[in-house]
Symmetry: C2
Subunit: 404 residues, 2 copies
Amino acid sequence: MARIVQKFGGTSVADITRIKSVARRVKREVDAGNQVAVVVSAMSGVTNQLVAWTNDLAEIPDAREYDVVVASGEQVTAGLTALALQEIGVPARSFLGWQVPIETDGSHGKARIGGIPTESLRGCMDAGVVAVVAGFQGVGPGDRVTTLGRGGSDTSAVALAAALQAERCDIFTDVDGVYTTDPRIVAKARKLDKITYEEMLEMASLGAKVLQTRSVELAMNHRVRVQVLSSFTDAPGTLVVDEDEIVEQQVVSGIAYSRDEAKVTLVKVADRPGVAAAIFGPLSAGAINVDMIVQNISEDGTTDLTFTVAKADLARTVKVLEEQRGTLVYQALKPDSNVVKISVIGVGMRSHTGVAQLMFKTLADKGINIQVISTSEIKVSVLIAEEYTELALRALHTAYGLDV
Amino acid sequence: MARIVQKFGGTSVADITRIKSVARRVKREVDAGNQVAVVVSAMSGVTNQLVAWTNDLAEIPDAREYDVVVASGEQVTAGLTALALQEIGVPARSFLGWQVPIETDGSHGKARIGGIPTESLRGCMDAGVVAVVAGFQGVGPGDRVTTLGRGGSDTSAVALAAALQAERCDIFTDVDGVYTTDPRIVAKARKLDKITYEEMLEMASLGAKVLQTRSVELAMNHRVRVQVLSSFTDAPGTLVVDEDEIVEQQVVSGIAYSRDEAKVTLVKVADRPGVAAAIFGPLSAGAINVDMIVQNISEDGTTDLTFTVAKADLARTVKVLEEQRGTLVYQALKPDSNVVKISVIGVGMRSHTGVAQLMFKTLADKGINIQVISTSEIKVSVLIAEEYTELALRALHTAYGLDV
């Protein structure tokens, strides 16, 4: 008998019909002789309504009360899912964050899980009862309700799987797995049977919206075998696993892209010691994350400096830098939000050379200019003009031999 | 400085605009130098939606999961109301049933409050923070979420007022007080400034839907001064108080009516020892409450026996009695749901005679036939044909000198 965690997202529990279908899927796992803990999100749309109400009341709602309001969404789904299971003969009971308890810190709205004592859940599951846990929520200091932030139900599920030492954590969603790239753009994209934690982490943080980054980190740290699969089909999904579980590793596993980036260029900045601190200090103080940075070779004591920030932070970035104009000497400040970041990802890069070179050559062959480059051990990212997104993705997908 | 509990029902918190208006009303009490605990219901309509979902899943939903689902409604209002208060500069925090804790027994769906430790609430209020408590909910054995049943938020409020030894418990609703009778029927009905617990209890159980019966019992037992008033006007409401607080007591304080009754007559029942047990035993076993009972003088060894049950139980009552036909000998069984129970209520009856006589005479003068009579120390109830409801109410209202 194995212990399995199954997580169902908002679209999978959007209405009573789908909740019934979720119950049948859980039943199959129970019938196969497994102990099952289910983690559910709020019915899709519900969280948005709850958030809208808090925003109608306050521009910046008190995070503790915000959490009380939005956590109710998962509470409803947990109760309804337990009812749906009971109705088809599967003993089940719901657990709210404070009942498990899923202990978190006091960072309301984006709480981090500290620990999950599993006595109550184990007792329930050992008695043959499916534990239906409200995702996204926990209990913080002073017995206050906390939430883990958007997409937090993935994190709940993985944390629970780690605490329960579950054999597998199945994340049911509205896509049927992790693809080599976005299949809506590249028709030849291929579903991956397996992907390593490291790759999945890069994919998640570089724009593939299948899994929340934090949940992948958690899975990697606790070696939780995560499976991403669709709640609407019976096809097997993608397993996120340890590198040594993948026998024939491709050099490149996937190609991600993100349109959420914007570029800022400071033209002819006085190139003297402390200039980088003068630029990035104020941005950091303003809680603006800088991603890629490139600095040209200095000429005549000046240099051009380019970096990227989240598109949502662009206006604020420009404002902060203009306020520094007294201490920071530059000729011009050029913001540009018509950019896309394309990344090729693969743990095979560690042992193979020429991966970056193939990327540069492929893009050059299509006449695409690379504006910024950044690399890590298992990925190469470039910033290009947004209009080339589709062209670049297709060309790279073919060049790295990923086409079906 | 006084401690006040204010309770707002579903229509008073129906949307964000009304929740803001509730916050302003609470603020006035705070500005007057009082410590305030607020009890809120679910936004009107929300509970019905939640109940409907549980019914879509199961004919008889597991009461424990039902409670988890429906308790979410008050949770949302509690959080939103705390936000609304904070937004107008009133420090506030929400308390869910398990956070107070409002300890109940394990009768899910209709739990009874056992105790309310007030350390956390007092700590909050002593620090100048308004405690916004989710009504209708508590926490039962095994840390399970419980609910108190429909209208339970009144009970939450009164129980909280008792535990906090509050000076007053204000129940805000969509009517502006307790009337001598239903003002929709009798234009000359008058709002009462004060009413005794005993009278209010009779009014509530006899059909006046202003306060839940259980909350009045609780208020009476703990001598909580309850005020019923409208959340939509600034008019003073009706105070429910001890008898000795009312100086000039009317003989009759109010006239209630209930259309929820149905009459059953067993014609020519064999009149022998044990016949009542043979009739009412099976009904009691079927959880059918019998209200009024009248038995005619026996003739020829048979008698006619008439009693009333809730209209909703009528079909089941007939079924149960027909199943007894073997052991129970009677000529005919006549169900009648076209009846109304009219009750005149007043603690003054204890010291005044002729109250019942005036009722019988008044109805007789209008040609209204009385089918069943029942009396208690402070009320006289009669069952009449439903079509006479308005006529009887108006005539009695005038006869007892209640007209404005």
